[in-house]
Symmetry: C2
Subunit: 344 residues, 2 copies
């Protein structure tokens, strides 16, 4: 394996990384088949944020391939993951296509188009070997690189590694797959894990969930190898917990999105704590919480809103586990990453 | 009538205006009766943005008045008007209370608590007389001052005016009431209209919808009398239309909120224009549209998002009528304010 000229150098912050994975397979044939089979007149298309700009061109291609009486509707709802399904649009269309995420749960109503990346992962994997001195190594990746997972595993084995992989739990579709909220596929018997994929979002969650493991990031999108460093994030979490310890009024957020509702957990907190108030919402944003006169929030919904967007909220925002520490139910050293298991 | 000391001077931008209407009647007895009657265990409470901070205290008062097994849930969804009903929370609670807006349509599932203001409107109405030289005058107000509408009318008559009022259409609950999207109650036979209420949101819509009438604002919340001036707004609207004339790709927004869906209007545009793409969403915000690669947007949902928040969007955002001008179907001088009629 050798690097070619187009993959020389760290592309973070250059804007060039986008060009790496410009071509996607939208699986138009599969969509057209479903439209014809169901005599569909309304078709919903949902793209993740980063691909929403491709929506009109995909709709144009589909228009050209189907009857004139088919109306294509693009979802304008925010979409960052498999649990951001636009259920309103799904219920009101004959065919509903969700692009870019693997199914959290299969449903006849939905066509999932995974959008695999065409970027070559091997040059960065080769660079990553220097950071992986032990024989046992875990291997994980995201939905968009899943199509080459077996190849990656075989390549590591050919380099002399004993590669540990597992499917994780019901929330995950594929062997070796991680989600922003679930790293059960890294519950393997190795002290080092190789994450192949773009960005730091997933490997940071992985490293926080598995603080005992070294997490090496082979990023073929930005052309860089790094080691996940959770120190800054952990400091931020401890800071939030400490600031929340003085809270007199707590807002307990119950997220109404499919796959994010932890009702018993939310109800238990408000039943036990007279100063806790249940707040229900779909998108959890700083704007929406600003008008509530609370001293701190507990988010029983997506843990990545809490940990990654935390500093943007006007008051400390904790995970349910962090809340237990702040109110004195658990010791400070029990602080751990909040993950989601199971499906809808 | 004479002004007392506490209402001397223009309170806009002082922060003092809030103190004017500090006391609200939350009609707790009516809510408690409904909870007991329906043996409710889950009660939803929805407040407009400006009153969300009162939510915890209202929940505390209700907790003290009802059984321990009742769980109170505060809606965290944005709420600016009667059409922002949190239908998710409504469907999942035994009693659902919507505060601060009059019903657009009655429903057994919902208790509407109007939250009338306790501010005295008469000092400002007296000041407004200088701006109302003619004998015929229209009178309108918002839901929160509706409880004194008859008094206001009688007072104007005692000052020698011939007062014109009407109920407007089905979207409006009360005689003389205006909504941000409906000013049918000002379709009266007078060239001058007195608007009694806080802020400029409603009177500006009123003046744009009725450009032939002089709209005088008696604002008892900010303690000031002004005359609505639409010039700045009209310039902004013409500017948006002109910028959109070059658009090659149009995003046509269909809003999924109750009371805002104009499906035929949206469908007609995408059927006629090959460069138009339908986008469905609930909250229409600049963030949500930024990721779509469009040159301009047409909003078939709330007209106030288009006119009041327009400059915050990264691309021109037009009402359906303005879209017809931009694409050449209608002349420039047909530009008028977009209003909503009918109910859900």
């Amino acid at each position: 394996m050798s690097q070619d000229a187009s993959t020389d150098g760290d592309l973070r912050n250059t804007g060039l990384s986008l060009k790496h994975d410009r071509e996607w397979d939208y699986e138009l044939d599969r969509i057209v088949d479903a439209v014809e089979e169901r005599n569909a007149t309304k078709v919903g298309l949902q793209f993740p944020e980063g691909l929403k700009r491709r929506g009109p061109a995909v709709a144009d291609d589909l228009r050209a391939l189907t009857d004139d009486d088919v109306t294509y509707m693009l979802s304008g709802q925010p979409c960052y993951g498999a649990c951001d399904l636009d259920t309103y649009l799904m219920r009101r269309t004959d065919v509903f296509v969700h692009f870019g995420h693997s199914p959290m749960k299969e449903s006849d109503k939905i066509i999932y188009v995974p959008l695999f990346s065409n970027v070559d992962p091997f040059p960065m994997m080769e660079d990553a070997l220097d950071e992986l001195p032990e024989e046992d190594v875990g291997l994980v990746t995201t939905a968009q690189h899943m199509n080459r997972f077996e190849e990656m595993k075989e390549w590591l084995e050919s380099e002399g590694y004993s590669v540990h992989t597992r499917k994780g739990d019901d929330r995950l579709t594929h062997e070796g797959q991680v989600l922003g909220c679930n790293y059960a596929s890294a519950d393997i018997d190795a002290d080092q894990v190789l994450y192949v994929g773009g960005g730091k979002f997933h490997p940071l969650g992985l490293a926080m969930e598995h603080p005992d493991k070294k997490v090496v990031i082979a990023d073929p999108v930005n052309n860089v190898v790094t080691v996940a460093d959770t120190e800054k994030f952990m400091k931020q979490r401890y800071g939030a917990v400490h600031r929340a310890m003085d809270a007199e009024k707590w807002g307990v957020i119950f997220c109404t999105k499919i796959g994010q509702g932890r009702w018993e957990m939310a109800e238990e907190i408000v039943n036990e704590n007279d100063d806790a108030y249940l707040i229900t919402m779909d998108e959890v944003t700083p704007d929406r919480l600003r008008n509530f006169d609370m001293d701190a929030f507990v988010n029983t919904g997506c843990p990545r809103i809490t940990t990654d967007d935390g500093p943007q909220f006007h008051k400390p925002m904790l995970t349910p586990g962090e809340y237990r520490i702040a109110v004195g139910d658990e010791p400070l050293d029990s602080l751990s990453f909040d993950t989601f298991h199971g499906t809808w």
